[in-house]
């Protein structure tokens, strides 16, 4: 039979409305409505009814579909609310994850802590070393004489493929139309930036000045016309060759600019002036030891000199590796600070469901795995974010990191002990039971309840020989009628 236009329109209406129906029910719903529509079209008596009835009937499909969609949304929202209601394990993990994410964002926002977290920005950084005099307590203190550097440029070719030198000095910086400023300038050998991979070998000929990104932003408001201009540094004319990328300066010393000196200018420095030497080692003849520090021995005029060649990535990553030390110290201190045993000595009338113990263990591990980075990232942001001096930062990192992490681990365990072993929700409705004056005659303490009716937790006020630690009392199914949650009720009347 040829379909009538009204039937086709009604069919189209049903099929369009079916798009509102949840996917899992769509096929069944559409089949029912189309079947009913077929029957509606075949029971009409007159031609006029036939044209009107299917469309009017199919209009009801829209209402049906809308109600199904609304019910589906309501059910999803109810599930989400139950999933995230206070005390739910998912809510706890989500809050911890949000805190960890916030701490990570803070670390990445602060320049000091960002440098700690991100890898060194230098080309082939694994083969770069910072040379310092052996015995120097801090490799970040200048300990290399200019005279040593000059000599090494001639006799260390078998060890180093490239060698550069810099020293930090305060200079008076003056632009033609600007005020005089005092800048901390790294006076460096001409190959310095090329060695780090921050400029090409055929760059601007020395002398050339490169402003750090931070100094360019803060002192010159990011003025792009600065590049190419000639400035006056302590009376010498120097062209501003460029701006270093953000966070490019991570070497010892706080500087506003890098001045690539010509060899002639470098030769004018006093031989005893101290600075830093950076070298790119030849891996084959100078293999890396386990701790990342190589040693160089030099005999000069019968005197033996020792130098440390500290791996640059290791030096820059030192604050991050301290995090593991903080984690280790907190972990070994944890058992000593727990006055109670970790077991709950549960009283069970029957075995717990099969996946209860693995779920509990996974939840505990997930909490610990989220709380540790939260604390450690916060300590990195606190200590390295505001750019403290190295020694102060290390001290603050330990002083704040270890106790905070210890507290966080203790909270993790304490929170675990206050959760239902079956559904992992926080126990609630605390009730005082007994009297302290009757402690030796009867039980005295606090009773907590699982809102889903899985059981009760008894926590003694004073540990006694017969009730030394908290006990979990499992409630059987006969109690469940007392614990119907509001969310399980019918969402709407029939």
């Amino acid at each position: 039979m040829k379909p009538r236009p009204a039937s086709s329109l009604a069919s189209l209406l049903v099929r369009s409305a079916s798009l509102l129906v949840p996917r899992s029910r769509r096929a069944d719903w559409t089949a029912e409505w189309l079947a009913e529509l077929w029957h509606v079209g075949h029971v009409s008596d007159t031609e006029s009814q036939m044209s009107a009835r299917p469309v009017a009937f199919a209009a009801g499909a829209v209402n049906d579909a809308v109600q199904l969609r609304a019910h589906s949304l309501h059910a999803h929202l109810a599930r989400l609310r139950a999933f995230l209601q206070p005390g739910a394990p998912a809510r706890c993990l989500l809050l911890l994850a949000a805190g960890t994410l916030a701490a990570l964002s803070l670390c990445l926002a602060l320049p000091g802590s960002r440098r700690v977290l991100l890898p060194a920005p230098y080309r082939h950084a694994e083969s770069l070393v910072l040379i310092s005099s052996s015995g120097s307590t801090d490799p970040a203190t200048p300990s290399i004489h200019v005279a040593d550097y000059r000599e090494w440029t001639h006799n260390t070719a078998p060890l180093f493929s490239d060698l550069a030198f810099y020293r930090v000095a305060d200079k008076t910086f003056h632009l033609a139309d600007g005020p005089q400023r005092r800048l901390a300038v790294a006076q460096a050998s001409p190959n310095f930036l090329h060695l780090l991979g921050l400029a090409s070998a055929s760059g601007t000929p020395a002398p050339a000045l490169y402003l750090t990104h931070a100094a360019w932003q803060t002192r010159y408001s990011g003025d792009p016309r600065l590049v190419g201009r000639v400035s006056d540094i302590d009376g010498a004319s120097v062209r501003i060759a460029g701006i270093l990328p953000a966070d490019a300066w991570q070497l010892p010393g706080s500087v506003d600019a890098v001045l690539l000196e010509s060899p002639a200018m470098l030769a004018q420095l006093a031989p005893t002036a101290r600075g830093f030497a950076i070298a790119r080692i030849r891996g084959a003849v100078f293999p890396p030891p386990r701790d990342g520090t190589r040693f160089m021995v030099e005999t000069r005029y019968g005197v033996v000199y020792h130098y440390d060649c500290v791996s640059l990535p290791r030096l820059l990553g030192q604050p991050f590796s301290n995090v593991f030390l903080v984690l280790f110290l907190a972990s070994i201190a944890l058992p000593a600070t727990l006055p109670l045993s970790l077991s709950e000595a549960p009283i069970r009338r029957g075995p717990l469901p099969l996946f209860t113990l693995p779920r509990r263990a996974a939840f505990l591990l997930a909490k610990a795995a989220l709380v540790a980075p939260l604390v450690l990232l916060s300590s990195i942001a606190l200590t390295w974010g505001p750019s403290f001096t190295t020694n102060t930062a290390f001290l603050i990192q330990f002083v704040t990191g270890v106790p905070t992490l210890l507290f966080a681990f203790r909270w993790t365990l304490h929170d675990q002990r206050r959760r239902c072993p079956e559904c992992l929700r926080r126990l609630s409705n605390p009730a005082r039971v007994g009297q302290a004056s009757c402690n030796f005659l009867a039980w005295n303490g606090t009773e907590l309840l699982c809102v889903r009716g899985h059981g009760l937790l008894h926590i003694p006020e004073l540990p006694t020989s017969w009730f030394s630690t908290q006990r979990w009392l499992t409630l059987d199914a006969s109690w469940l009628s007392l614990f119907t949650e509001p969310s399980s009720a019918s969402p709407e009347p029939i």
Binding site: A31, E32, W33, L34, A35, E36, W38, H39, V40, H42, V43, A56, F57, A58, A59, G60, A61, V62, N63, D64, Q67, L68, H71, A489, S490, E492, P493, I494
Partner: protein, 105 residues
Amino acid sequence: MPAEAKLSHTAAMILQAIHAGHVYGFSVMEVTGLPSGTVYPALRRLERDALIASRWEQQSIADAEQRPPRKYYRVSRTGRLTLEAAWKRYPLLERMLPTPEVERA
């Protein structure tokens, strides 16, 4: 039972219609005079609360009669109990939509 208390007159009428042997949506519409936009959503809710159950007609029967298969509804045990409670609440319900046995009597 919460479902009993919440059964509206319309829902009770639809449940009664199914009990009276009007086992698919269109026949419920015809016997109750309710529009499709009321009957079918009510059928979904009754089925969700297990007061009625549905099944599809066998394809072979529908093929033999050259029409699409229909979805049939029947009142469940819980639905029967709810309906009995609704009869007390709405005394005219049985007289409006009598079951075949009542009609014969």
